[in-house]
């Protein structure tokens, strides 16, 4: 542990910190809480690492893709599109 005079980092414990990360990342902390959060992260390597790992997790999520409809369902939709188009008077077809 880091010890010293900053033991409770201005009244925010690590246990409390981890529950604030999403509010912080969503910019939903009021000015005072934001300052306390940022002071804590500057002094506490454990919480800095936790915050980094949450950010990294969101970046990995951003590189994944969601499951989509089956190729059969997609094929049926394109078939339906062609019949829809052939029924339209103004479509070039």
């Amino acid at each position: 542990m880091t010890g010293g005079d900053d033991a409770d980092f201005d009244g925010l414990t690590c246990r409390e910190f981890v529950e604030l990360v999403t509010q912080y990342l969503e910019d939903r902390l009021d000015a005072e809480s934001r300052v306390r959060f940022e002071q804590h992260v500057a002094l506490c390597p454990g919480c800095a690492r936790y915050l980094d790992q949450i950010r990294e997790a969101t970046r990995v999520l951003g590189r994944t893709t969601l499951d989509t409809i089956s190729p059969q369902a997609r094929g049926q939709l394109l078939d339906a599109f062609r019949s829809w188009r052939s029924g339209r008077p103004d479509a070039s077809g």
């Binding site: 033991a7 997790a57 969601l66 369902a73 062609r82």
Partner: protein, 207 residues
């Protein structure tokens, strides 16, 4: 104001199949995810997505672009899904009752109240051996994250999917899922914490 799918919608109106395919590929994944929250099975959810696209074709001449296509699609999707969901007697309300008290990091990771530093890490989170983003294991990290995402409770899964995988903003997600901003944030918070924990288990060897 011109909405971003305007060109594709114009091409769709004149029968451009490529435009239709592009829209289907762009929106079906998130539509399927939202539909899954209303109906009991993947099969039915897929039907709901298909019915929504058919409804778009049927209604394209009445679609004036006052709302974005995306907004229109999801509104119709949710209506269709709810009709199917009610028929299947599904309950889709979110249970937020444990929201304020349920911690996302195990309490035993922190010092107890009678220790010298109550509430502080017993041990810091272990650094990851390499970045899940850039390492040779990136492919495995993606598989792991997809797997963990699928294991999340439904409401966490859908919020994390829309926010972090598909990049929707919080206002859109709240509107789509009929959630308050605070509830949406709690679901996102818990879901992300679980994904981090899964990556930690893999990249650090310990939680």
């Amino acid at each position: 104001m011109r909405n971003p799918d305007g060109q594709l919608v114009d091409r769709l109106r004149v029968g451009d199949e490529q435009a239709f395919a592009e829209l289907v590929d762009r929106y079906s994944p998130s539509m399927l995810a939202v539909a899954r929250t209303h109906v009991a099975s993947r099969e039915v959810a897929e039907d709901v997505v298909q019915d929504t696209w058919l409804a778009l074709l049927k209604g394209i001449d009445g679609f004036e672009g006052r709302s974005s296509l995306r907004t229109w699609l999801f509104r119709v999707l949710v209506n269709i899904a709810k009709t199917r969901g009610v028929r299947e007697k599904r309950c889709t309300t979110v249970d937020m009752s444990d929201a304020p008290t349920h911690p996302t990091v195990s309490p035993d990771r922190f010092e107890s109240g009678d220790s010298q530093w109550p509430g502080h890490w017993v041990r810091f989170p272990v650094p990851w051996r390499e970045s899940p983003e850039h390492s040779l294991l990136a492919g495995e990290a993606l598989d792991l994250v997809r797997h963990e995402l699928a294991q999340l409770p439904q409401q966490q899964r859908i919020v994390v999917s829309l926010r972090d995988v598909d990049g929707y903003d919080s206002d859109e997600v709240c509107a789509l899922l009929d959630l308050t901003a605070a509830n949406q944030r709690v679901l996102l918070h818990r879901g992300r914490a679980r994904i981090r924990q899964a990556l930690a288990g893999y990249f650090a060897g310990v939680p």
